[in-house]
């Protein structure tokens, strides 16, 4: 169960935009889209994004510098994320596979590292693009 959190004005505007978007959104594309609502500066966007990532409402797709709404209601607050990314159409979807997340959460290598978080990005061709 995800902890409830009251979003502030800017956080809500930006989350709603990302949530409604069909795919991941980039920071400056978000900025252009919310300027009519009074959010004028990059920093205002980045601050909201940081907070939204922190509380797990959105995730950052690191390889794309883009942000996507969390599609997984039982998400462990961004501590364990996995995505599949189509290299042709750039469609991104969040993978919620219990076996995978258990496997990775329990993964321990020989380095003596204690992991608190992971991010996994798969790349390939989505169904649509594959059949083209």
């Amino acid at each position: 169960m995800q902890k409830q959190y009251t979003l502030s004005r800017n956080q809500k505007i930006i989350f709603d935009l990302i949530d409604k978007s069909r795919g991941p959104m980039k920071a400056y594309s978000i900025l252009f889209n919310v300027q009519k609502k009074g959010i004028k500066a990059p920093l205002q966007v980045y601050r909201a994004l940081d907070k939204l990532v922190e509380i797990g409402k959105i995730h950052k797709i690191e390889s794309r510098n883009a942000f996507i709404a969390c599609q997984n209601s039982s998400c462990q607050i961004s501590k364990a994320t996995a995505f599949s990314i189509c290299e042709s159409c750039e469609d991104v979807s969040e993978i919620s596979n219990t076996k995978l997340s258990k496997y990775l959460s329990n993964f321990a290598d020989s380095s003596g590292m204690k992991y608190s978080k992971y991010n996994l990005e798969f790349f390939g061709l989505c169904k649509k693009c594959k059949s083209k």
Copy 2:
């Protein structure tokens, strides 16, 4: 076995620098370090980096926008990468764990996606930083 590839002048200069570095290096830090060797512009660095990534001599740490030499002689040419990243000292090491790479290479989710590549980044505290 990794395919042999003759590096060009710039590629060699930049690879050697990254290979000798203790940790991941950022593009502009690379640039500053090779200016005395005649590589003056960002694009020259990025072109070499792109090629080196493509042939698997280095990897990009996406969450850090930094580059590290491949530490795994049997590396599948950057198609399957995993790293552990210390969030305190920013030390990064490449994970070469056969079970993990097999597990991920064989992973198939319900989306019908065909994966050709993945990148996994684990975050936590390394041994040293944990004991501080």
